[in-house]
Amino acid sequence: MDRPDRPGSGPPPAEASLLNKPVDRRRALTVLAGAAVAGVQALNACRPASTLSEEQRELKLLAWREYIKGNYRDMTEAERAETIARLERQALVERGSAVTIQSTGAQPGVVFGYAFNISKCKGFRSCVEACINENNLDRNADTQYIRIFEIEDGVVDLDHADATFQHEVPAEGHFYLGTQCFQCADPPCVKVCPVGATWQEPDGITVIDYDWCIGCRYCMAACPYWARRFNWSAPEVPVPEVNPNQHYLGNRARKTGVVEKCTFCIHRTRQGRLPACAEACPTGARVFGNLLDPDSEIRWVLEHKRVFRLKEDLKTEPRFWYFSD
């Protein structure tokens, strides 16, 4: 909105430029927004000066500018930097939480894949704990991306598997299988989104622009794996527990009425690190790596182990395989 080439930033009144020139909708909105900000300020001028403190004024402006911003995919690098600066400032002023939000892009020649060893997993749920801490998941609603199923030996039947076990593990005669977002190569959730708020990145991670999501939850209905979670209330994370290392498309603060999901810890994996679940797993049951690198650990597993995926017949092509020793 600071671009000089856009109408409304110069002397001609915003309304006039709107009426006289053909403008696309986004530009028109930007102009209107600018005018609205001016309106708010003019309204404030009529009121006693003490009604709004400097900080409240700042927050209102930040919120407004956030409200009218575009889809992350359409933003220029400069616009991304602006919104990130606003979000970081909001986090600091509103919640007293100093965070760093990245916009790190996908590395060229990288597509992420995951393998899960069902003979190693012991059902400790260390991954679940790490995921909650790493991704700033709502402590109030107790959101969890990962589910660990306890299944009787001899069958892979998730209909009769127990994801709510709370006893000493591993239990005799059972094995454990974890699910999360599988980052499908042909993701049905992306196809159904009516507003383009969720998409697949070049490295295979399906992401959500939380500020573009309208909360219709079509994606949740479309996902055959129940990988997505909805925020019925504003997520609550105690400030000392907030992970300040965040990504715009990942673990940054979410709000009421938007959908979220596992992003293979996009803020970590794009920097060459392992997802938090893989790093926390004490048994080494989780293997993560670059599918395009023939010398990666994940490729070794796919080439040397007997692997399977869940609901393969749906042709969603999950990038998440299960194997056993």
Binding site: R26, N71, R89, V93, G96, S126, D142, T164, G284, D295
Partner: protein, 241 residues
């Protein structure tokens, strides 16, 4: 232009309403003066620093030695992490400045009695295969017993600080994987290739893996049961979702 979202309609209504409510356009206010400096004065205290001991940014501090005899996929060399002996407690395992809070319960007890030669010097206290001495009551030799092995199968009576391979070669305690791999070659291959064992690194760059005895007690290798982290309260089909 792609259509993305229904929100803009609301924007325009809101903006139009505000415009009509305020006829006088305060043009200086529309400009950049509303831009917020990200580095502006912090009004609230910054959050306390998070415990970053698990962050692999500190991987450079991990003490590790190159693995001998095994290489990763594509012949890539890798390293085995060395546990530091100070400040270990509970289930935490320390490697340099990285402390792993979660590891297999029932891993190797700390080598508090190391070096072995502090007692087993000369013939004063001889290592015998017939019984476990009072000083080693913490050892449950389940694994060797099942295999019909004895102390000297792995521990060299003449060089107790070292481990003995079947070939007669002696290796350092930090190279315990070479001992295990003599029988568990399938596991060793999976370990080298990334399908077994805990990684302390990323999927890119340096590869550092924990050694066998960091998770498995060599005398009793099976992990002990434990109480899992809390179960999810939201279920599919239950309640809203």
């Amino acid at each position: 232009m792609r259509f993305r979202g229904g929100k803009p309609m609301l924007h325009s209504l809101l903006a139009a309403g505000l415009l009509s409510a305020c006829v006088e356009d305060d043009s200086p206010g529309t400009g950049d003066d509303a831009t917020v400096e990200p580095g502006g004065p912090a009004t609230a205290a910054a959050a306390p620093v998070r415990d970053d001991s698990l962050e692999p940014g500190t991987l450079g501090s991990v003490r590790a030695i190159p693995v001998v005899g095994w290489s990763g996929p594509g012949g890539r060399p890798f390293e085995v992490a060395l546990r530091t002996r100070d400040r270990e407690s509970g289930h935490a395992r320390r490697f340099g400045t990285i402390t792993l809070r979660t590891t297999l319960r029932g891993g190797t007890p700390d080598l508090v009695q190391y070096p072995c030669t502090s007692c087993h010097l000369g013939r004063t206290v001889a290592m015998k295969d017939t019984r476990i001495g009072d000083a080693h009551q913490n050892i449950q030799p389940r694994h060797p017993a099942l295999l019909g092995a004895v102390c000297s199968t792995c521990h060299s009576p003449s060089a107790v600080d070292m481990l003995t391979l079947r070939t007669g070669d002696r290796v350092d305690m930090d190279q315990g994987y070479r001992l295990c791999a003599q029988c568990h070659f399938a596991q060793a291959e999976a370990w080298a290739s990334g399908a077994h064992g805990k990684r302390l690194d990323g999927w890119q760059g340096r590869r550092v893996v924990m050694g066998c005895s960091d998770c498995h007690d060599p005398h009793r290798p099976a992990p002990l049961p434990r109480i899992p982290f809390r179960a999810p309260t939201i279920q599919r089909g239950g309640g809203h979702d």
